[in-house]
């Protein structure tokens, strides 16, 4: 199985915009791409994970300016239901070309909504740019609270940045404290749906991006679709990014492949295990629905 999906090119990149890289998690790829697309009129607005009233709890917002994009930059390790706004963006927000960012599962939902636009009248043709982010697993907000407040022993309000890398979950606070916990301890908090997900690098996005495979402060970028390619080429020509070939950076594409294989192999086992999960009245295995097969 091809664990990285179809892509036209893969490259390591970093935004040249200092305002963005100050706020962003790694290379600032998503924020810069949306800012470029907004400026060029490729999109009218983007659905991004904006700030909410609670610390580190993302809330989907429709960003139509760079300032709004910057407020939403950076990773929050809990899900932001961005699809919730996809229809409203074309309605009371009055957008004709919508950009959306999301995890691999959200990209699957976007494509499904385009393929079978049931309840999505006049939405499917208005999705202009779908950006995906790498995702190993996701946490509920309560789980994130437990990890930060209990395991890492920091207050959510004081946290400046959260990061996952090198087998550790790291929390940086305003006052300079750094608290770490081993990544394997957070597995029990993972949302159940993540255990059957077979997509690590957002195979269905126009462009997908994540830190894995690139040096600190850089991101790995997969350019996947024709549309994504056009936007990426335009952004490069406009000087939005500095880039390095993937085979010249450490740790390189091999790590992405390794992690993707790990995730998919582990989750494939869960998918298979579900085939015999539970028993029917006559004693035969009942099996849970396999999301990757048509019933």
């Amino acid at each position: 199985m091809d664990v990285l999906g179809n892509y036209k090119s893969v490259i390591s990149a970093r935004s040249t915009d200092k305002d963005i890289t100050k706020q962003s998690q790694d290379g600032g790829i998503i924020t810069t791409l949306f800012a470029y697309a907004l400026e060029e009129g490729i999109i009218d607005g983007a659905i991004v994970a904006g700030p909410s009233e609670e610390p580190w709890k993302p809330e989907p917002v429709v960003a139509t300016t760079k300032a709004e994009l910057l407020a939403a930059a950076g990773t929050r390790y809990t899900i932001s239901p961005n699809l919730y706004l996809i229809k409203e963006a074309t309605r009371s927000y009055g957008l004709d070309r919508v950009g959306i960012v999301g995890t691999p599962c959200q990209m699957q939902a976007v494509r499904k909504a385009q393929l079978y636009p049931i309840g999505m009248r006049d939405v499917d043709d208005k999705i202009a740019l779908a950006l995906g982010i790498f995702c190993m697993e996701n946490l509920s907000y309560q789980a994130l609270e437990a990890i930060v407040e209990d395991h890492c022993n920091q207050k959510m309000e004081s946290v400046k940045k959260m990061d996952i890398g090198k087998g550790k979950f790291t929390v940086y606070t305003e006052r300079g404290a750094v608290s770490q916990m081993p990544l394997k301890l957070i597995h029990k908090y993972v949302q159940p749906g993540c255990n059957v997900c077979l997509d690590y690098v957002a195979n269905l996005a126009d462009i997908s991006s994540g830190s894995v495979g690139s040096p600190d402060g850089w991101s790995t970028v997969f350019v996947r679709s024709m549309k994504g390619n056009a936007v990426w080429d335009g952004a490069i020509a406009a000087g939005c990014f500095e880039t390095k070939p993937m085979d010249q950076v450490k740790p390189g594409l091999d790590l992405v492949t390794k992690l993707a294989t790990e995730k998919i192999t582990k989750n494939q086992k869960n998918v298979d295990a579900r085939k015999t999960f539970g028993l029917k009245a006559d004693g035969t295995p009942k099996g849970l629905r396999n999301p990757y097969e048509t019933p």
Partner: protein
């Protein structure tokens, strides 16, 4: 000796209806019965016990042509019952929805009525689907008007069909300044198109009025000068929007409304004694078949001051703009005259709209079971919804929809016309039959009908 003709089903309108016509030897209608044969929806019974939030949404599902009218009338009936005043900006959003719906609906009706008409100055009937000019550009203009109406409905209402944004107490969301600008652009475009479309359609209908004959199923039928004339009254509650029992001066009066059963109104059982197999779309019902209008009609017959009344574009123009042209073409022309107002109405409402204003009432009472009604001027006439809400639950719900009013009125307008033109008269009313079919009120008469139906 009169003969009986049955045209079943009638075509090029929404829903399922038929015409049973008693005609004289010259083919002139002596008595016409136009009746709905769409199966009963039962929305009024489904509504009982549901929350007041749900019922307007269910009610709008009665049909997909004017769901906006049903949603708004349903919601405002609930608001009238509980006594809830909504913010000004919510009213403006609803007004925009209303205009957008009317623009779309009138445009689609143009497509339905054009095939009866002739290209002015020729004996060529209009086929709206031909690729040839001048018809092609008209068809494109109609579709663009529909697209604009539906898009505005989608932005303001959340959905073009069955709007999700209106709610009891106002609206769920206001629109953004960006959306407001987009609607402005669309409305300005439609303003020009609607004017052109109105002028074209009026020219076509005037041409039909001046013709001596029209070809129907290979027969040249003389067009009578009083085609579709009737002497019934008109009922309208507002030029554009509507009225409700919360208004200072309500424009509709429940006391003046009575209803009779179809059993007491329509013809008894008749045998079809004349038929034309060449009549468009499969011919009329063959000789020897039976028709029984009083049994088959699926609507009640609503009366206002004891008489059937006409509702719709002409009724609005007669009540509020001193319009006085009678007949089927008079009604068609009245409908076209409403076209430009839809675009101007949207622009005016947008001028007044504050996109950052609140669109939800601060307090939404849960209702004490008092009676409330709301009338919405749907594209095809006054749509009255009545409700009683107690503690947030609907105790009683009734829909008096436009075409229910028009069924008996149009039946009278058929008298004196050649039977082959009966459908032309009927189509002038822009019938929307499926919502007109509604649950009968249980009373002595109903039991009588029910017993007869069982026998």
């Amino acid at each position: 000796m009169s003969k009986v003709v049955e045209i079943s089903p009638t075509t090029r309108h929404e829903g399922h209806s038929k015409l049973v016509l008693k005609v004289n030897d010259d083919g002139i209608i002596e008595r016409g019965d136009w009746l709905s044969i769409t199966p009963v929806r039962g929305v009024e019974k489904l509504a009982i016990g549901k929350t007041m939030e749900q019922v307007p949404k269910i009610a709008s599902r009665v049909c997909g042509i004017c769901p906006i009218a049903h949603t708004l009338a349903g919601i405002e009936a609930m608001e009238a019952s509980i006594g809830c005043e909504i913010p000004e900006d919510a009213k403006l959003l609803r007004y925009i929805l209303q205009c957008a719906n009317r623009m779309h609906s009138h445009a689609i009706h143009n497509i339905l009525s054009l095939p009866d008409m002739y290209i002015p100055g020729t004996d060529v009937k209009i086929n709206p689907f031909t690729k040839e000019e001048p018809v092609r550009s008209v068809a494109l203009r109609i579709q663009r008007l529909r697209e604009i109406g539906q898009t505005i409905g989608e932005i303001v209402g959340g959905e073009a069909i069955h709007p999700s944004n209106p709610r009891v107490g106002g609206m769920y969301k206001n629109i953004t300044p960006r959306a407001k600008a987009k609607i402005y652009d669309l409305a300005k475009e439609s303003r020009v198109l609607a004017q052109e479309q109105m002028e074209f359609m009026i020219a076509v209908f005037r041409n039909y009025q001046n013709r001596d004959w029209s070809e129907v199923g290979g027969v040249e039928v003389p067009i009578t000068k009083d085609l579709g004339y009737h002497n019934q009254g008109y009922m309208a509650t507002a030029p554009v929007y509507g009225s409700s029992s919360l208004d200072e001066t309500p424009m509709w009066f429940p006391d003046r409304f009575t209803e009779v059963r179809p059993w007491d109104w329509y013809m008894g059982e008749v045998e079809i004694s004349e038929a034309d197999p060449n009549y468009p779309i499969g011919g009329t019902t063959p000789v020897g078949n039976k028709a029984w209008p009083q049994m088959e009609a699926c609507t009640g017959v609503p009366l206002y001051d004891g008489q059937p009344v006409e509702v719709g574009p002409r009724a609005r123009l007669v009540q509020f703009k001193n319009y006085d042209e009678k007949g089927a073409m008079g009604l068609q022309i009245a409908r076209q005259m409403e076209f430009p107002e839809t675009a101007y109405g949207i622009i005016d409402a947008l001028d007044a709209l504050d996109p950052s204003g609140s669109v939800l009432a601060d307090e939404i009472p849960q209702g004490d079971g008092s009676f409330g009604w709301a009338a919405n001027e749907a594209p095809r006439g006054t749509d009255v919804h009545m409700a009683k809400v107690k503690d947030g639950r609907v105790e009683y719900f009734g829909m008096l929809v436009p075409t229910t009013w028009n069924f008996p009125t149009c039946s009278r307008a058929l008298t004196g016309a050649p039977w082959r033109l009966a459908e032309v008269i009927m189509r002038a009313y822009d019938p929307c039959v499926s919502c007109a079919t509604h649950m009968l009120v249980i009373d002595e008469d109903k039991r009588l009908v029910a017993q007869k139906l069982i026998q």
